[in-house]
Symmetry: none
Subunit: 194 residues, 4 copies
DNA sequence: CATGAATGAGTGTTCATTCAT
DNA sequence: GATGAATGAACACTCATTCAT
């Protein structure tokens, strides 16, 4: 399995650094190879092509993301609490990794439609987590029984994503994690119904 | 003033069509020129460079957008009503113009960071509209006096934007405008506080 | 019509020179462009791709070849005489143009199968000339009425081609045109039957 | 002697198969190694480089070729008969081995000039056989005493080669061996003189 | 004003060969 | 002897922009 070989992760980490530092369109394969400390050709022993590096990058990082969120959610009983730790951890992970934040919020979105569609596939797993929390909240009557889960999920993800993107675009000048409670309040209010 | 000459709008409209049909990365200047019925060089009599076409496109369309929203907002007394007609009209304008929806939600986001920052400048005017409604709602006590306007604005815009993008990515298979009341409810609940 | 513009021929002539001097596999587009005195991109205003340059080169030169042969053949009454002037002129044209000889006999044959099949299409016109002479000779009873025209054509072309290739490979050390009468005698003896 | 080790022939046979199936330019060393059932590096224990595989392939196969022709020639008394069995066997060997025919007539000719010059060296042995027959024919007065042996050899080889190549390019749709008598007649007529 | 021919910088990917194991 | 992971040089083609007419 190539994914477990050290060079696989080495190349992905190099890609994050290069894309964060140079931007998506200036992230040439040769730059990534140099940063990873391998020859250009070695990249192609681990990845089908350049696009495959970027998709794998997203999969790899999003996997860590989802594992972490899953873990903290499991530790909470109430849907509202689950939502809070989700927002907190979402903000925290990106706060702690400046390069990852820039790459996922700004750079990778410049990729072409095909790549973005594949990235969306990876995102679906995250969106399902949101759905699960919302359904659980409806079940426990924390959230309105009339809640349109699809729309609520779009509110939750749209709000979180917009908040992070704004923060990144403002050069991360303020404390993102500190915003979690207020964001969480907006979201639960939205879901609770009147 | 170049903006009032017929070829200015002719080129912008050609750009929307070409980008919608071919995608951002396949929208060459020569294609846009051909669609507009002018020579390649003529483009540069009206626009500084290719990026300038795209920014102008966004400004032009967003201007229409904001004018329309402004108009319908003015006709409503309550902040909640203003928010509803804003969502309704946002959805309606993009529902009515498939090409514009594809271009703004998917294609233009593939542009580089610099262009996206400039697009964000244009967006600010729209975000100010949202702010005004929110502040008005706080004033009229429709919304919580503790509402963090910046965060609430991010929720409003993030939710609307995510809803439209999801709809476009799902090939506009369902009625977007019909979702406006439910989305509106989520947002006002969020802003109202418990 | 691009074929009549000066740069079209300019690029083809540059290609002959570059291929003759550097060999097929070292004839980069940029070298050809430089030799032709145009920018790399200009090549692509006149040719679809690199392969198209080579096919066009062959068509262009073979056209001149066939026109010349056609002309001299027409001036002769007997099939045997026609064959002689064909051989003489075939040898003469390549004797007079060292670079063309190297390109057609050695370099262009290194091209891939697809290109060679297209080159063969162009050659067919020449082979038809040979066929016409042979059929004419059978009609005038100069050649055996039992002659298998297809095989005889392969003998004529195979012998001429092998003779020229050997001459080029021997660095053109001897007088190719002087061999025409002897070659002609071999061929007419072959066709005449016992 | 490496040539007698089993892997030597194994690799050459693999090369014939891979080149016949994929074409000269798609016959990578790694493909040949896989087909031969050895590691890439193993190739280089038996051959200096890729070119060396191809030259050895040609030598090996041409050796068999020449041995066979030598054998059948020795059994005939008259030069004309020797020529006939040469043509017959040349056609027969390639008729019986489709892959070898494709490789020698089409694929190997795409190799670069240097390789083709080395291949020509190997061919010389075959051409000497032709020369011997021609000289023997002159001696026995079957052929014209004025025959230019070099040119006649080019006719013999050029005709045979062109006939085989045309047959391969026509996807071997007709019976090549059946053409031998007619080709032989053309050649002996040519050599006999008036 | 309008044209469109010409420019030329920039990059992902392949594959013969090596060499540490 | 045998392996196969790693190497790194090499190149066709696109397209935003210019400028002579």
């Amino acid at each position: 399995m190539k994914k477990n070989k050290p060079k696989y992760k080495q190349i992905i980490d190099a890609a994050v650094i290069i894309i964060a530092e140079n931007g998506y369109h200036q992230a040439q394969v040769s730059k990534i190879a140099k940063q990873a400390g391998v020859a250009d050709g070695t990249i192609y022993l681990y990845f089908k092509n350049k696009e495959d590096i970027l998709i794998s990058l997203f999969e790899e990082k999003m996997g860590i993301f989802i594992d972490k969120i899953n873990e903290v959610i499991a530790g909470k009983q109430k849907a509202s609490e689950k939502l809070l730790v989700m927002v907190e951890n979402h903000f925290k992970i990106l706060s702690d990794d400046h390069q990852l934040a820039v790459v996922t919020q700004l750079e990778l979105r410049q990729s072409n439609k095909e790549l973005r569609l594949k990235i969306n596939d990876v995102l679906k797993e995250y969106l399902q987590l949101v759905d699960e929390i919302l359904l659980y909240g409806i079940e426990t009557e924390e959230f309105s029984k009339d809640l349109d889960v699809r729309l609520a999920r779009q509110m939750v993800f749209g709000t979180i994503d917009e908040t992070v993107t704004t923060w990144v675009m403002n050069e991360e000048k303020y404390d993102l994690v500190a915003l979690a409670p207020a964001v969480h309040k907006l979201l639960t209010n939205g879901c609770r119904g009147l």
